[in-house]
Amino acid sequence: MRLGMVIDLKRCMACYGCQMSCKAEHGTPPGVFFARVLKREEGHYPTPRMLFLPVLCNHCSDAPCVSACPTGASHYAEHGIVDIDKDKCVGCRACMMACPYNNRYFHDERRYYFGEAGPTPYEEICSDRHPEGVVMKCNFCRHRLAEGKDPACVANCAAKARTIGDLDDPNSTVSRLIKERGGFTLHPEAGTGPNVYYLAP
């Protein structure tokens, strides 16, 4: 089984709900967004365009971050999910250099949203999940998958633009969507075999 995600840009309404639901689920420090939305303006008046692209770790089949990791912290977990074993990570950030998608973050020091006022009770709980000096990134919400739930960004997507499923199964919803709608990946030229697919807007 190879877990993959399909993001339907036709359905995405650019509400940023994925970005915040991911943040709330993982309780990441300020500035860290495992799932995020890139916004870009293109073109000239009178035909400018605003483009929104939700991105996250592509959980590549041939992940350069995994090969770059000297300690084995970045590894393939179940179903091809690329995850980081925090206990093994030494914070060398080789994986960050290797990742062509800029979807990894280095947690250099503890930071809280209200700065000197200290952590909120919510952050107190969350911050324990994120040790300092290690690299962090999306893990397809493995803890939710293990409970039979969809990842937070999928479950919360108000436009129902995200679907997760087995890419090895030709009859799964994700496989069907990719086939029928011509799903594409980001930067295929990097040759990493991304498992996050997009459907054209």
């Binding site: 995020r36 365009r49 074993d85």
Partner: protein, 958 residues
């Protein structure tokens, strides 16, 4: 290597305390209030701490999904800057930025002083009390309105939305759709035109539930056209963006209407005959021809060759066209009047005013008219219904102008011409008809006809309904709503000329005391100085709030309110006309209940107001007011002599609506009650015998009477806004000469203020800035030089967007590098994204940073990533970002308008008020970016946004 099982367990428990420590792990249903959308949520509480907020999957207003702002609500709950205890001012001097010298006091002291003041005011004249509330609380403001009614003051307003909020859109929506707002029937609509609206894009009423519906429609292939000066979020997802000059929506809509009825001949005669006043005969005076005996408007029965009252069975075939003699006068059906009226609005005239090419106007009209499929029907849930899959909707963008009502009427006219109003595929109101829960039959409401057969709303949020309008009379309230009965928000509540008008109209009292509930009118009403001046006139102001904010500078006592996650409300979405998604599906009535206990001395403002009412001896009054507000009767009616807690009142309201078995306890457990909608409720227009005006005859009477009262008092009155047919009338945006493209003038090192600087022009700088000027539409957060000089983080590697972290002393909440006023104005946005919804602090807009993701409402934090992948970051990277974007933007001559997102296609042709942060920044290609902003008339300042006026360049408007 850990074994797989161990690893899985570690993953399962990631994000929570270890299993052994979990004492409590519950999901509690409630309702969001980050915006007025009020989606149903459920909060995850672990060991007493809220760790997650999600949409409530059991509710049609939740669906298990929630927008970004709602998810961030935890940060309001736990914001360390929230008020903790009641505070009393020690410095009698009030003004923006003047330290009130807060002194903590007890609730008992605060309430005793407030009660004493209230008693004095009530003894003198209860109208001296003004109540203002914030917008997010408006749909659930039980004890706001009821307290005012009980106390006896007419002076209540929703100050959180300012004076621009909804005066046109809500009134027009009420008059023509019996609804607070309108939305396309996403499930069936094939062609939707949005005029300054974002329904379905995470904004406005039913914000989150509409996203899924809009996505479905998009996937299904609904064509969406967005008419907006800005290529905004809705336009980004539309098939077509139609840029338009600000405030000219009516001209475009009327030109389209003209194309439909006079060029293409597309209109729904059946709908116009049976559901509008199109057949009513109009006399040369402009008034309806009326039956001498009954006073009912007459229509022309062509078969019989006589005029008959509109409700005569023969009216079904009444004439829409022609001229007829009635009582010796030549009368025309209203539709004929409309056709004649529209002839002035040719597509070319539409182009002249709105800037939308005539060919585009004709094409849009044809596409809209053809998409409407006039005459077709469809079967929904076994009911055969008219099928008009085309919709034109309006909201803030179209209505936020002087010509607000006419803009909305003109746009909505498109729907009524093709009969696409509250039928399948057309424009739907937000649930104007509800037949109630199948067991209790409550809540039950639907529009009803007035004496002219025209529609009066079945349910409304405010005490006064939009139609029929009340008789204008000499004002009794400080906002003059009696004089202008169609409006619901008045500029006189906080204007600089209010005293003058109060004198002219002999207002027998002056406002002396205010109770503020979460609003920050300094920031939400246009002119902060005028608002500040009006607030200084109050002898005593009590403010229930979450934070100290700009408004607090004028409060005498500030009371720490409980947040929306800590309070109880049996009816958080004023059901269902305000927020409930339209279209088929389920009804859902959720309650708001506390998911956390208020910490410190925080208390629910509702309970405090209820307690104050009882303390003042207003028990009978408040109980009767609550009965009226909730429509309580029978066993659930409050006894006037009784004393009730908020819980008891909520319990009675819920039992009254859903039967004795479903009281507060039931709702606390279940959170929401749902039942299926019926086709007759959603597509109600064919089933409810009401008409709507396409010819607004009542406006003429209203205008005449209001005009007389105004003229008697020497108030200028413009009767053009009270004509029966919608017009385009110029708003200040068009009264400014020389609108269009202006050279930009900029204050740069080495240049004279006001000297012209063009994009790409080299600037020889003093200091560090030199190189060609680049224009970008992104406002910078502050002046780098000023920051650096003051010791802030202004270095090359630093981020302007990032709040400085140091603190002068523990009590200081803001940036040490900035002045006291800056601190107060800037801190909230830096720190707490979610509180803006409640607080309305908008003076500072966060920079929409580089092409990195950002949390909505949050500044760009310093990038955590480092290493070769990020090597270009720093000045070169910044310059590159600004350069690429800046060049494109400058060529488009983009200006950013306050309150908007993204760039607009051309400068708003108006001069924005000088203190508004219309943003444009100039930067140099090789040097550091120079934070600038466009002032009115195209002048540019390098002063920090929101900085002192003295730093601004003088206006250089040619």
């Amino acid at each position: 290597m850990k074994d797989a099982r161990q690893e899985l367990e570690a993953v399962m428990h990631a994000g929570r305390a270890s299993a052994a420590e979990i004492r409590e792990d519950v999901w509690i249903p409630s309702v969001c209030t980050i915006c007025y959308g009020g989606c149903a949520i459920r909060a995850h509480r672990v060991n007493g701490t809220i760790v997650k907020i999600e949409g409530n999957p059991a509710s049609p207003t939740g669906n298990g999904r929630l927008c970004a702002k709602g998810i961030a609500g935890i940060m309001i709950l736990y914001d360390p800057h929230r008020l903790k205890t009641p505070l009393r001012r020690t410095n009698p001097q009030k003004g923006i930025g003047i330290d009130p010298g807060w002194k903590p006091i007890s609730w008992e002291e605060a309430l005793a002083e407030t009660a004493a003041r209230l008693e004095k005011v009530r003894a003198e004249d209860p109208r001296q009390l003004v109540l203002q509330v914030t917008t997010t609380m408006a749909p659930s403001s039980l004890l706001f309105f009821t307290f005012g009614w009980a106390f006896g003051t007419p002076n209540m307003w929703v100050a959180g939305g300012g004076v621009h909020c909804g005066n046109g859109a809500h009134a027009a929506g009420g008059i023509t759709h019996a609804s607070w707002s309108v939305v396309p029937d996403f499930k069936h609509c094939n062609y939707a035109i949005y005029f300054g609206a974002s329904k379905g894009h995470g904004a406005g009423h039913a914000a989150t539930p509409n996203i899924a519906q809009a996505a479905d429609a998009r996937e299904r292939g609904m064509r969406m056209v967005v008419v907006d000066p800005m290529c905004n979020f809705a336009a980004a997802k539309a098939n077509e963006w139609v840029p338009i000059r600000v405030g000219t929506d009516a001209a475009l809509a009327l030109a389209m209407a003209n194309c439909l009825v006079n060029e293409l001949g597309i209109y729904d005669a059946e709908y116009l005959r049976t559901k509008t006043d199109a057949i009513y005969l109009v006399r040369p005076s402009g008034r309806y021809a009326r039956d001498a005996a009954s006073g009912k408007p007459l229509v022309w029965d062509a078969g019989a060759g006589t005029a008959k009252p509109y409700d005569d069975p023969a009216a079904k075939n009444a004439a829409l066209e022609g001229e007829y003699k009635v009582d010796g006068e030549t009368c025309k059906p209203a539709f004929a009047m409309l056709r004649d009226h529209l002839k002035r609005y040719t597509a070319e005239e539409g182009e002249r005013i709105s800037g939308v090419p005539a060919a585009t106007i004709r094409r849009l009209a044809r596409e809209f008219g053809e998409a409407a499929r006039v005459g077709s029907t469809i079967v929904v849930d076994g009911v055969t219904l008219p099928y008009r899959p085309a919709s034109a909707i309006f909201f803030r963008g179209a209505q936020g102008h002087k010509n607000s009502m006419y803009n909305c009427f003109a746009i909505d006219l498109l729907n009524h011409i093709v009969g696409a109003a509250d039928v399948v595929g057309g424009t739907l109101g937000f649930n104007p008809v509800c037949h109630g829960h199948p067991e209790s039959g409550r809540p039950r409401y639907q529009p009803r006809p007035d004496r002219d057969g025209l529609m009066a709303v079945g349910s409304w949020m405010l005490p006064h309904v939009p139609y029929p309008p009340a008789e204008p009379r000499r004002p009794d309230s400080i906002g003059f709503t009696e004089l202008f009965p169609l409006s619901h928000v008045s500029p006189l509540m906080a204007s600089s000329d209010q005293e003058q008008w109060w004198q002219r109209f002999d207002l027998p009292y002056r406002p002396k005391m205010m109770i503020n509930y979460g609003a920050n009118s300094i920031m939400s009403v246009g002119n902060k100085d005028a608002v500040a001046a009006s607030l200084k006139n109050f002898e005593f102001i009590v403010s229930f709030d979450l934070f100290l904010n700009e408004f607090s500078d004028f409060a005498d006592i500030v009371l720490p309110d409980a947040s929306y996650l800590e309070v109880l409300d049996p009816r958080p979405n004023f059901p269902f006309i305000f927020n409930h998604p339209a279209g088929m599906g389920d009804w859902g009535w959720p309650i708001r209940q506390p998911v956390a206990e208020p910490a410190y001395e925080r208390r629910s403002a509702r309970e405090m107001l209820l307690g104050l009412a009882y303390r003042l001896g207003l028990g009978p009054e408040i109980n009767m007011a609550i009965n009226a507000f909730y429509g309580l009767d029978g066993p659930q009616m409050l006894d006037p002599a009784g004393t009730y807690t908020l819980e008891e009142i909520c319990d009675r309201e819920l039992k009254h609506k859903f039967g004795p078995a479903r009281g507060l306890e039931w709702f606390k457990e279940h959170g929401v009650i749902t039942w299926p909608k019926k086709a007759e409720e959603v597509y109600w227009r064919p089933f409810v015998d009401v008409r709507i005006p396409i010819y607004h005859e009542y406006l003429m009477d209203l205008g005449e009477r209001t005009g007389k009262l105004c003229e008697a008092a020497g108030m200028h009155f413009d009767p053009r806004y009270y004509g029966p047919l919608p017009e385009w009338l110029p708003c200040p945006s068009h009264e400014v000469k020389g609108c269009g493209v202006r050279p930009l003038r900029v204050l740069l090192p080495g240049r004279d203020p006001g000297e012209r600087v063009h994009d790409g022009e080299p600037v020889a700088g003093r200091g560090r800035a030199h190189g060609p000027v680049q224009l970008s539409h992104r406002p910078q957060r502050g002046n780098r030089a000023a920051q650096g000089a003051a010791g802030g983080r202004g270095g090359v590697g630093g981020n302007l967007d990032r709040p400085a972290r140091g603190r002068a002393h523990p009590g200081d909440r803001g940036h040490p590098a900035r002045g006291a006023r800056h601190r107060r104005l800037r801190r909230p946005l830096d720190r707490a994204p979610a509180d803006r919804a409640r607080q309305g602090r908008l003076l500072q807009r966060p920079a929409r940073g580089r092409l990195r993701a950002h949390e909505p409402g949050q500044p760009q934090p310093r990038p955590l990533r480092q290493g070769p992948a990020d090597a270009p970051r720093g000045p070169a990277r910044r310059a590159r970002d600004l350069t690429a974007r800046g060049r494109a933007v400058a060529r488009r001559r983009v200006t950013r308008v306050p309150g908007g997102v993204g760039g607009c296609a051309r400068p708003p042709p108006t001069a924005a008020p000088a203190d508004q942060p219309a943003g444009t920044s100039a930067s140099t290609r090789s040097g550091l970016p120079l934070p600038c902003r466009i002032l009115s008339g195209g002048a540019i300042s390098t002063a920090p946004v929101g900085g002192s006026r003295s730093r601004l360049v003088r206006h250089c408007n040619p």
